[in-house]
Assembly symmetry: C2
Homo-oligomer: 305 residues x 2
């Protein structure tokens, strides 16, 4: 009889912690990274750099927060309200401060009097880009290379479902055919890359966790139109594999929302490919073993380990 999935996930997490690959924080889904775990994440990041190096993408890096204004414009709150992380802060007098600390010391909830600061944790690495592109694109459109910590409020015992994690993304902004071509190119590249790492994986249509009943229609629409694909890697389960790379064609969703126009007029289309650095790393430690010395030679070679 096989163990229930939760048991398997818990056991894998315990092994990762025991080997000091992950450092527990006391909150599910928030972990420090030990030396080897982080080193593998960095090497995967560098691998993406190598594969995309001749594309001419602009290298930009953003902090792990976006502005509340841009978050609101993105319509993320409509689809994924249960994942958002809004940053709240304190403004007040010394008296207010004394009351705040007193509540904290008494074990009461001191966080309810705080107010939104104007920033929200980044939901996906490409979100900060679109607002910066308002207006006319150059004729050739844009290619952008980003990486940042992202946040999703979904505490879980599954080590592959972290609340704070990094996405490395390449983003294409341009005409529909250019953007689809980009997505298809990276889908081929992504598969080749995970194969080079000797990871068992396959492509499937994505199943985004849109919220509520209206969300069920959105996900059906996304699947029907073949908009988003994922590279799935079995980590703790073959039946419920983990999306480690995603290929997402947004049509003119962000173009319209943020006023991004093609050189010849009309809303720009966008697509992104996102590599989940921690998830691919977890796939490697799960499929090849907890000791990097035991990994297949081609995997180690590809990552320079």
């Amino acid at each position: 009889m096989s163990l229930p999935l939760e048991e398997i996930q818990r056991e894998f997490l315990a092994q990762l912690i025991e080997r000091r690959l992950l450092i527990p924080s006391g909150v599910d889904g928030i972990y420090g990274h030990g030396h080897w775990f982080e080193t593998v994440c960095e090497r995967i990041d560098a691998f993406v750099t190598r594969v995309g190096k001749d594309d001419g993408a602009e290298y930009l890096r953003f902090p792990p927060v976006v502005t509340q204004r841009n978050y609101e414009l993105s319509e993320h709150l409509e689809s994924f309200p249960d994942l958002v992380g809004v940053v709240h802060g304190f403004r007040g007098t010394e008296k207010d401060h004394h009351a705040l600390v007193a509540r904290q010391k008494a074990g009461e909830d001191w966080t309810q009097g705080l107010r939104a600061t104007g920033v929200v944790l980044t939901p996906a690495a490409c979100y900060p880009i679109y607002p910066t592109l308002k207006g006319r694109l150059p004729h050739e459109g844009k290619r952008i290379d980003v990486q940042s910590y992202c946040f999703r409020y979904e505490p879980s015992k599954d080590p592959a479902r972290m609340q704070s994690f990094r996405q490395r993304e390449h983003v294409r902004i341009g005409r529909p055919e250019e953007v689809r071509e980009f997505r298809d190119l990276w889908q081929r590249r992504g598969e080749e890359m995970l194969k080079a790492l000797q990871l068992d994986c396959w492509v499937d249509l994505a199943n985004d966790p849109f919220f509520g009943r209206a969300g069920k229609m959105l996900v059906a629409n996304q699947r029907e139109q073949n908009l988003k694909f994922e590279l799935l890697v079995p980590i703790t389960s073959r039946e419920k594999p983990t999306a480690c790379v995603s290929f997402n064609y947004h049509q003119d969703h962000f173009g319209q929302l943020f006023g991004i126009e093609l050189a010849e007029g009309g809303w720009a289309h966008t697509a992104c490919v996102g590599f989940g650095l921690e998830r691919i790393t977890l796939g490697l430690f799960r499929q090849h073993g907890l000791d990097i010395k035991d990994w297949p030679a081609p995997t180690r070679e590809t990552l320079g380990l």
Copy 2:
């Protein structure tokens, strides 16, 4: 007649944006980093790695959030309540969600019904470490190497006062004399490093922005006991230079709060050295010019540029 400082800062920020070194977000103190800005940050990070490489520090990396529980234990809320960023999230039914989105669409404050998620933005890169060290240290104590995004809720037009920025830190945990020795060693190293980058800079006692009247006593105490020093770099002003590296001896503050004991008993002492990656980068662009090609040869050589 010289321009008021705010005017100078605004002008410098405008230049950085024009050269696509910083990308504005619409919120003061939140910027994307253009290719060259980020590259310089990365090279400074690598320089710290080189200088500390034989110290035997454990390489750990943490996400940009700490747990609320550990944040509370750190007593940061007592001293710096106006800097904290608490992450709030949504839990509710579809009806609650409809109401939330309706408030947002109507331009009302939709953030007040949210609740704390259990995580807080990291105030300083070394904060996640201390809670993991509860218990007895090995005889030789500990040395840890961290880097992460940190958050301070202080919107400002001064590009050197970002709200979201990175600190690279080395941390020593051990006996008082070991810890003081570490701090003094890094203070010498820090000065030599900025000199190697040809940065005009000097060391001074730190002036932390403790909150309120009680805070004034804390800062006086910190200065009186020579606990924290800073390497100051004139960026937009010589009279109000910017702290780019800090050397902080915490005595047994964190040892006591988080129950970290020496091998022979007694609370461990701690010290950290923190390099502000964005601030040093800004110092370089300010003192050496906005075009890296114009930088002094030794600076470019040191950073491999």
